[in-house]
């Protein structure tokens, strides 16, 4: 029977666990930090000195840790884009904007185990020569911001933050910055603009890759909450042991936010790729099946922007035939079946739902959240929303599926940031996979 594997959420929900520093330390907190700071410089194969920080960065690369925010990009590789020594200050930003609809995993850590995040951040900052870091937290997490501020004060008082952390000679300060409630602030360059006090317009890349020209035009690393927490565990377990969790190239655990028409919606921590979509939805340890005897209609597998999967679909993955419900929940398999695990948010849609209404709802979200900076997304997101609401209001036309795809095609790949894909993909996939439902809607 599939089980949760609790690494990040090991203590968070334990009845006697509290978010204060004393409790965290009692559970072995900040030992990983001490361990990291104790790493000694070594000599590489070429006879050159390898700094302690470089060793730690290497170990994060070797662990196979992939970003948990949505794109699933190698964390170690992302870090390697920053040059050291760097003539400019290097910044680290924790992306705690958690704004992808369906996602509520980072919140669990921030609200219940804030020191885990802070410890992960301190280690990541030390590894990347960062002396000033920020946590950009979504505006709606008012309590979360308070909790983090309290935790930061506790850490500061204990010498985990501030000047000369634990006698290492490394200085670090972390500030909390609250967003004001825009989805686009979760896009890393939009986030940076917002942090600089500007309208969160994502930056064009090239030239503004954060690793070179990030916050205040200095090299900047932006990592998700869950990603940074994992850094602490990589130090604790060692890269090799961490890489054994999950499946090859899909290492560690993932926090899955399960929502929609299941009996037991909630968050679960699984070994990446060790649990299938079907198990997540139907197993008593997870979703516990659909409600009221309804049948599965669709799965949005990785946050609202991921391409939808239709019940009954089968796929050919690496020459192997696979039913939808047998797809292991990981990064690579979901990509191979044409979608993504994104932020780890699974939205389950049963057959009681009007699928076009579902899509119209998503389109409305994206039309509302498009920052409006670049033309295709600004105009296209609202265009799709209007067309879909025309459909749901009984004014559909036979040509609307193609019309919608035309609009979406003109957005994807042509925008400044990935919001273009985020708003185009649901439309493209819903239209492709539910053409019959569109036809029914038009003729109704």
């Amino acid at each position: 029977m599939p089980q949760e594997h609790k690494l990040l959420l090991k203590y968070a929900d334990a009845p006697d666990y509290s978010k204060d520093l004393e409790c965290y330390e009692r559970h072995g907190g900040y030992q990983a930090l001490r361990q990291a700071l104790d790493i000694k410089a070594s000599t590489g194969a070429d006879g050159n000195e390898v700094t302690a920080q470089a060793q730690l960065r290497k170990s994060v690369l070797d662990s196979g840790l992939r970003g948990r925010g949505g794109a699933g990009f190698s964390c170690g590789l992302k870090w390697s884009f920053v040059r050291h020594p760097n003539p400019k200050p290097v910044y680290l930003i924790c992306n705690a904007d958690e704004s992808e609809p369906g996602t509520f995993k980072d919140k669990q850590i921030i609200y219940k185990d804030p020191h885990q995040l802070i410890e992960g951040m301190i280690i990541a900052c030390w590894a990347n020569h960062v002396n000033l870091a920020y946590i950009y937290i979504r505006g709606e997490f008012t309590e979360g911001a308070k909790i983090l501020n309290t935790a930061l004060a506790e850490a500061r008082a204990k010498g985990y933050l501030g000047k000369d952390i634990l006698g290492s000679g490394h200085d670090l300060e972390i500030h909390i910055h609250r967003g004001a409630g825009a989805y686009i602030c979760g896009e890393e360059t939009g986030l940076i603009e917002s942090l600089e006090g500007k309208r969160a317009y994502p930056r064009i890349k090239p030239p503004y890759f954060p690793a070179a020209l990030g916050l205040y035009m200095c090299p900047t690393i932006v990592n998700n909450v869950e990603t940074l927490c994992n850094v602490k565990h990589i130090v604790e377990m060692g890269a090799e042991a961490f890489a054994k969790l999950g499946t090859p190239n899909n290492t560690g655990t993932r926090l899955v936010s399960l929502s929609g028409d299941v009996k037991q919606p909630g968050y679960f921590e699984i070994e990446t790729g060790k649990v299938t979509l079907g198990e997540l939805i139907n197993d008593p340890n997870f979703g516990g099946g659909l409600r009221n005897g309804n049948q599965l209609q669709a799965i949005i597998p990785g946050g609202s922007s991921s391409k939808v999967l239709r019940a009954g679909e089968t796929f050919k993955v690496d020459e192997k035939q696979m039913d939808l419900l047998d797809v292991p929940y990981d990064f690579d398999t979901l990509m191979k079946i044409g979608t993504m695990s994104g932020s780890g948010a699974i939205i389950v849609i049963d057959d009681s739902r009007d699928i076009i209404e579902c899509l119209a709802n998503l389109a409305e979200f994206y039309a509302h959240e498009s920052c409006g900076q670049c033309t295709p997304c600004r105009e296209g997101s609202l265009w799709m929303n209007k067309a879909l609401h025309r459909l749901t209001h009984g004014e559909g036309r036979a040509e609307d599926p193609e019309y919608l795809k035309h609009i979406a095609h003109n957005i994807q790949g042509r925008t400044i940031c990935a919001f273009g894909e985020a708003c185009a993909w649901p439309v493209l996939s819903f239209v492709d996979k539910f053409k019959d439902k569109f036809e029914e809607k038009v003729s109704a």
């Binding site: 309208r199 033309t375 105009e379 265009w383 067309a387």
Partner: protein
């Protein structure tokens, strides 16, 4: 000899080869950015070198790159990622393998790059006119048009609108848009000189970037979100710096219009004439837009040695006087030009040496000041120009409000300090040594020669454009021309000698000053001069040291002038 050739040779420009639409061309590796710094050449610039225009809205060579309009999306081919040996994949024939870019998640779909912000890469192929590129362009244009009002017929931008132009080239005859358009505020009063039509705006942010980065007034921004985005000032703060009208020029559509020009004239009726702004010593290059002898607007004309593509609002709006009702248009003191010139000439011939003073306003052209100087030399007259000082700023406006103080100095009408002789002229009139005063384009009552003093003169010859206290006292009043009504040159404060052309006919009997000065000089000195502006300029250039050093000729000035040593 070798030394001379060294100093004149520009440094060799490093070039790189790029394929545009299958044709290999050499383009400079580096190109100046908006601040003039050399940075890697972009795809858009490479296509320009190839003679292919990449359509764009937000990109402007003199503004920071924004990359938001996406109109310049171009399909390109790139060399593959280098393998472990550090070498990019090769074709069988040993050439670099170039792969047309595709979407990483959908490899059957071509991916474009924005030409304005994508640097050239060795081996790159630019498919500037391919069906893939065209499709991307058409899609962006379609997006821009779906919410755009169909009001070209009443829009001031019509005829010089990038949305119109590109619609003709890349648009479709019929719209497939089946929804309701977004409506936004129209006729929004942004400031004293600017009106915004938010529905027409394509949100390219040129105006925002201009105001923030060029005018250094971070006054404009965007409010609301997504398709409802709107340009706005902060709350109700008016958009009011001295450069606001440049935003109208750079607005690619009819969103920002000039309150002065809107609804005045369709642009296709305007005759365009190269001219100069006379508002200060900067000498911004301009284009006069006129129709049927009425001037409707000034626009800046790009000249990187002077004003770039900009000009200030006060200069731009400083043209209404040209067509004003009270322009001087009649010769006074005689029954016409011929009599006036004959009478003045004979009086000047009889004037004892040293009894004449000449004030040549620094608003007169180099040619006119040169002729006045010739006259003064013959009469051994004391000369000067009145200073007109005001406030300058960081960008274009200069504290010297005369357009030609430098010309007056170089030609020798004024000394190093303008107006230093005025008190000597005043005391000369007072004591009676100066009996004759010739004033061109200056109200001397404002600069120390009172009306009472003017009354003491035996002869006061005045030429001007508009009436003032000095013209009222003139024994002979010779109506002159606004710069827009004649040809000539000014020398700006940095020594740039620039010419302006004639756009309008002068009112009534008014004549270009250089024409009748030429007659006056010929009568008085007995020397024949040139009766064409070209000949006159070339003659002057042979005599005035600074001009001579540069071997200036009228033709050599071109459209943007030549800088002389000061």
């Amino acid at each position: 000899m070798s030394e001379e050739t060294k100093t004149d040779e520009p440094p060799a420009i490093e070039t790189t080869t790029v394929k545009v639409d299958g044709r290999e061309i050499d383009v400079p590796k580096l190109t100046a950015d908006w601040q003039g710094n050399l940075v890697p050449t972009t795809v858009l610039q490479a296509c320009e070198h190839a003679g292919i225009e990449i359509p764009h809205y937000c990109y402007h060579p003199k503004l920071p790159v924004a990359g938001n309009c996406r109109m310049c999306l171009v399909h390109v081919g790139m060399p593959g990622r280098p393998g472990p040996d550090g070498k990019s994949p090769m074709n069988e024939d040993g050439t670099l393998k170039i792969d047309p870019m595709v979407l990483p998640y959908e490899r059957s779909t071509p991916k474009g790059v924005i030409g304005c912000a994508t640097n050239l890469v060795p081996g790159m192929e630019i498919y500037a006119s391919s069906p893939e590129t065209k499709e991307m362009r058409e899609a962006v244009l379609e997006s821009l048009l779906i919410n755009h009002p169909l009001d070209c017929t009443i829009c001031d931008q019509a005829g010089e609108c990038k949305l119109q132009e590109y619609s003709v080239e890349h648009g479709q005859a019929e719209s497939q848009f089946a929804e309701y358009k977004v409506h936004k505020p129209k006729a929004v009063d942004l400031g004293p000189r600017i009106m915004l039509d938010a529905e027409r705006c394509v949100l390219c942010t040129r105006c925002i970037r201009f105001s923030k980065d060029i005018a250094e007034d971070d006054a404009l921004g965007i409010v609301n979100r997504g398709s409802y985005n709107t340009i706005a000032t902060f709350l109700d703060t008016p958009f009011d710096n001295n450069y606001t009208l440049n935003t109208v020029d750079i607005c690619p559509v009819g969103a920002l219009t000039s309150k002065d020009f809107r609804f005045q004239m369709r642009v296709w009726f305007l005759k365009e004439t190269n001219s100069l702004c006379t508002g200060c010593g900067t000498g911004c290059n301009t284009v006069i837009g006129s129709r049927e002898n009425t001037m409707y607007r000034y626009e800046p004309r790009e000249n990187d040695a002077v004003n770039g593509p900009w000009m200030c609002d006060s200069g731009r709006l400083n043209y209404k006087w040209i067509g004003s009702e009270d322009r001087l248009s009649e010769v006074k003191g005689a029954s016409g030009w011929a009599t006036a010139i004959t009478k003045i000439s004979s009086k000047l011939e009889k004037a004892p040496s040293g009894s004449v003073a000449v004030i040549g306003g620094a608003r007169q052209t180099n040619e006119e000041l040169y002729l006045l100087k010739k006259l003064a030399n013959k009469l051994e007259a004391i000369t000067d120009s009145s200073p007109r000082m005001g406030e300058g700023d960081h960008l274009l406006s200069c504290p010297d409000k005369n357009p030609n103080s430098t010309g007056s100095r170089l030609i020798g009408i004024a000394g190093e300090e303008l107006g230093s002789q005025l008190k000597h002229i005043a005391s000369g009139i007072e004591t009676g040594t100066i009996k004759t005063l010739i004033v061109f384009g200056d109200d001397v009552t404002k600069t120390g020669i009172s009306e009472a003093l003017l009354d003491k003169l035996d002869l006061l010859v005045v030429s001007d454009i508009l009436p003032n206290a000095t013209t009222a006292k003139a024994h002979y009043l010779l109506p002159g021309c606004a710069h827009a009504e004649k040809r000539g040159t000014f020398t700006n404060t940095k020594g740039r000698v620039q010419k302006f052309m004639k756009a309008l006919e002068a009112p009534g009997d008014a004549r270009p000053e250089w024409e009748f000065l030429h007659e006056l000089v010929e009568n008085t000195t007995g020397q024949n001069g040139f009766s064409t502006i070209e000949g006159l300029f070339n003659q002057m250039a042979g005599e005035v040291e600074a001009f001579k050093a540069k071997e200036l000729t009228w033709a050599k000035l071109g459209d943007t002038g030549v800088t002389v040593e000061l």
